[in-house]
Structure formats: C-alpha cells, structure tokens
Subunit: 339 residues, 2 copies
Amino acid sequence: MLNDRKKKILQIIIEDYISTAEPVGSRTIARKGDLGLSPATIRNEMSDLELLGFLEQPHTSAGRIPSAQAYRFYVDSLIEPGLLTDNDMALIDGWYSERKRNIDEIFHSTAKILSRMTHNVSMVVANKSSTAKFRYLKFLPLDKNKAIMCIVTDNGSIDNCLVKIPLGMQHEELEYLAGRISKQFEGKALNEIDEKEFAGVYKNISQDKTLFASLTKAIRNLANNNEQKIFLGGAKQILNQPEFRDVERVKELLSILEEEKMVKDLLSAEGDSGLKVTIGTENAFTGIHDCSMVQATYRLNGEIVGTMAVLGPTRMEYGKVISVMDYLHKYLETILKNK
Amino acid sequence: MLNDRKKKILQIIIEDYISTAEPVGSRTIARKGDLGLSPATIRNEMSDLELLGFLEQPHTSAGRIPSAQAYRFYVDSLIEPGLLTDNDMALIDGWYSERKRNIDEIFHSTAKILSRMTHNVSMVVANKSSTAKFRYLKFLPLDKNKAIMCIVTDNGSIDNCLVKIPLGMQHEELEYLAGRISKQFEGKALNEIDEKEFAGVYKNISQDKTLFASLTKAIRNLANNNEQKIFLGGAKQILNQPEFRDVERVKELLSILEEEKMVKDLLSAEGDSGLKVTIGTENAFTGIHDCSMVQATYRLNGEIVGTMAVLGPTRMEYGKVISVMDYLHKYLETILKNK
DNA sequence: TGTTAGCACTCAAAAACAACGAGTGCTAAC
DNA sequence: GTTAGCACTCGTTGTTTTTGAGTGCTAACA
C-alpha cells in the first residue's frame, strides 16, 4: 500500500509530532531523517500522504500532523516493540517491592506508576465479585448488636460490611448460620446468587426476618454494586500535555473520569487478551474523541481480574505506553498469582 | 473597630466579589446595597477600608477586592449562620440513604457530596488505626498455604492482609495463635504496639520465625502505613472557578492533592472540635496561599475518627460551605454512631 | 460636618494594524 | 525522478489605538 519511503516519512512525522506536538514541516524531516532527500521531494510525498488520508494540515502555512488513520497504521504496522530501559524496569520493580501489602494497594500503586511512567491518565478497574466465587462467609462479632460480615472469595480477596444482630442472638447461632450459608453458596459467582437461592437459604435456616433481610441486602450489595473498584492515577500528568492547556478540555475529560459508570463502560473488558488500542473516534465517548487509550486486561487462572488502561491525547507515545503496559501486565499477573 | 456603615459596605463588597469574582466598584455598591448613599460617599469609605487593610486594588482603574484580612473578619464576625435550604438538606439525606453500606463508602460519598454542593475540592481523611484500638485478630483460611489475617478494631472497622502459612501448620494452631495475639494486644492502639511487645508475644508463642516475621510486618503495616485513608472529591468542580482558569494553577493544586502525605499534613486534625477556617497564607503550603480551607473533625465517643475539608479559592462561599459542612458533620456522626 | 455632583486622570483590556516567517505549491531546470 | 527558486498563505507576535470602568479630588450643598 505505501512504499518504503512513504512509510519512513510517515513514521518520522508521527514520531516528531508525538514528541514536539508541533506540526511537522518538510525541512524538519529532511534534517532529521537522513533520507538524503531535499525538502521539495519530501513535500511531494507529504502531499501524497495527505491525499491518502494519513496527514492533515491545520492551515496552509503550517506543517502537517498525523491523522487518526496514521496513528492506527503506526500502531498496527510501523511501531517496533521497543523494550523498556533497564532503568524503567528497575523503577517498576522497586515500586512494587514496597507496595504489595494487599490487593487494593497493588491496584492503586499500579495506577500511580502507570501514569507516572506514561505521563498520562491511568485507570485500573478491578473486577471483584463478578468473576470471584463465593468461598465462605464468616461473622466477626463486635458487640452484642453488631458484627462484621466477611465474605471470602476464591481470589483471596475479602469483602466486609456491618450487620446488626437481632437482640439476644448468640454467637453460636451466628456461626451456625454462617456455616449454612457458606455451604449453600460455596463456589457460586457472587453475581449469580439470585432471589431464588436466597429464598432457599431462608426457608432452610433463618427464623429472624430482619437479620435475614440485612444479610440478603449486604450480600446483594457486595455482589452488585461493589463489583468493580476503580483506581485512577495522575490527573496531574495530563495537564502537562499541550492539548490540555485549555481548562475546558480538562473539564471534559475529568467529567468522564469522575463518573465511575463511564470509566467502567470505557473499559468494559473485551474478551480477547493482550493489548488493545483505541484511537480518536474509536473511543466510546465524544468527550475523548481526540484521545487514545491503551488497555490491557489481566487474568488469573484464565479469569479476567481487571483491566488497566492509559488515556491520553492521540498524540501519545504509543511505543513507550505499550511496553510499559506490557511489562506491568505480566508483572502484575505474577504478583497476583503469588498472593 | 469598624462602624456599622463600614461593616455593611465591606460585607457587600465581599459577597459581591464572592459571587462574581470581579473587583467591586462604588457604583455597584450604591446600586445593590440600598444604603441610600452616593457612589462618592462610598468611595470615601472604601478608601478608608483600604487604608485599614481590608481592601485591595488590583490596579487604579479597577474596583476593589477583599484582602485576606477581610475574609478573616467576614468569617469571624460578619457572616450569619445561614441555614441550608430544605432542598439541600433533602439532597444530602437522599444521597446517604443509598450510600452507607460500609465505612469506606460513607467517606467516599461524603467527599463527593461535599464537593458537589460547595463547588470546590473536598477531602475526607479517615483516621484508622492511629486512634483505633486493637480488638482481636482472626485468620480466615484460604488454602493450605495462605490465609487472610483480619484485624478487628473497636471502631468497627476491619483491616486485612494476606499471610503465608508455614508448610504443615494446622488451622487449629493458627486459631490458637490468633487467640494469644488477640489477648496480648487487646485494647492497645495499633500504633502503640512496639517492638518490645512483639518480642513478648514471640517469646510466648511462636516457634515459626517466618510466620511470625510476616505477622509482625503485616500488623506494622496496618498500623503505620494504612493508618489514614484519603478520599478526594470533585477536582472537576474547581475548574469552574475563574481563579483556576490557568492550567499552571491547577497543576500546583493537584500536586498537593495527589501527594497523600501533603493532604494528611494539611488536615492534621487540630485538637479542638468544631469548624476551622484557614484563609490564604494561613495555609501550610505555598501552593495554596491563595486558597482557603474549611475543615471539621468528627468524632465518635470523643475519639477523632477523621477530618473533612473543603478547599477552594479564598473567594469562597464561606456561608454555604460552613453550613453544608455543619450539616454533614452532625449527619455523619449520627450515621457512624448507628453503625 | 457629612454628602454629593462634576471632572480630570489612570490603566487594563480589547481592538486594530503591521511585520515576520515557517511552510506550502508550482514551475522549470538538472 | 529530484531539486532549486520563488510567489503566496496565514498564523503568530508585537505595537499602537481606542475604549470604558473606576478612582481621587475639588467645590458646592444641606
């Protein structure tokens, strides 16, 4: 489709634009890429590339900038994998060595390091109950009226909430109840537990309606509402990008990021594994039609545990971002596996 | 110190400036405040107020804006309590009715509603272990090699982390261990547990060094690092304030907000209860010397459980912010008490 | 003695204008 | 096919002008 020279020129333009955010002119290319061509020749090629939809001109007397199509092409065919520097890897290793106390913290740190290394906003969505399977339930008594209900799932995470204990109920009864419920629900994905099953347990066990109601509600809550946790990182980073020098633009982006539902939708994990890059209008929301997103889903024993993503202007360092995410991705799966 | 007329004029200036963000001129005051005075008279008064340090002039041909001293005076003596509208109260009530599943969520929602209602950044810092007292420890087994260690504290919250179980150790042994540790540490504030005490437990109980080491580390972690949780709300809101129309300004603020340590320092809860307003240079960091902060500490049974704060430009709707926080404050204590 | 109309003055912000220069497209020569 | 040369475009930058909101001062008034 494109001959080698065009490809080379396109690549130079893209990479120059990515690093400078300024439209690229023919002189610059002649100087930088040692193609042994004069600006005039390059101009002809650029003119062709524009006709083919790879370049755009902000206005006549400016250089040219890559189109969405160009980025797509760049990501698909031009980009070379590009390993991380030892420095970067050491940074990541060191970063986690102190920050893997619990799962939440791991995700939180991931979001942080991700944004710090890519200079863009990062999002980490941890799928919880949706895939997690119920293992058992336990009450940790607090006092006569209250206990903490802990639900342990098979991915080693734990959810808890407070429940009120009916007057006079003994701890032994609670324990018994926990055992029965555990047996009933064991191995079920949290979000699969439906009304019918609750009803089943209800019939079998509980005399106390209020307790049971609050239990049901609590489990329901854990399963449905709490099913994904979102960690964001580095809104600050994006302010360094010239495309966000305008506050209005930042506001648009933040509106999306602060709306949990939107973030979830954005990252609704695709089935396939590996990295996924969405560019410009490929993104779901109009507010980020001039942004690109690189996302990766990570899994544990085949199950999707979460998704991480980097969001920034289409003029993004795809190479760097992809290699950082690739490294983090594998790294994360290892950490989680050893948990 | 100031006669009534000066007070009245000052108040009008402050409130006008708060709502418009434009320097206030004598004409405006004559029109708005029905003092029956001509602009000329008001000009004389304003001139006095400037001499007294209450007003500043951005430049000769502009109106005047309140000084930090003026805001201080306003907050201390001029402001009238100003109740929330029924509408606002209903909003808050409705907001919580669906969002009080667990403590984290309550704090999170608080940060959100706070920023939404005040149009400023909000921060909620939840003190955890520092004041919380150790109640008991429990292991929730996962498989042969792993268990979740839960530490229940007297404020009804729970912290957990994964620990590895030495090969061959039985669950009964763990239970026993948990019992011993619980007995040893019961009633102690988490951050008071020091090396000596660990050593004491160690001598009494454990044969296994690795398990013990990881236990120590885990408890230490919970006590030290995890002692406060921070919830932020509404960075977006602040972008609507004209003083943050400049991205550089926003970056400065975000640098502080994204640094957990700084937020904690900022809110390092003062002993006294009630609301505290810091204006301009009264704030700890130079990055927010043109901001004001309204904070409230909330308590449970006399113990400080956390702090919430609203941070925005000095030109802040103090009246609204204070009444929102006041309402939330009491509201929160009630919710937490009933937990 | 306090209040006010009148007026000259100030100065930031907006508008209008000029000069610059990076970059292009086209043509003609190599 | 490549390239030097040149006229042309148009955003950016800098300068000047205009505008108008607001002030301080003075003198007159109640």
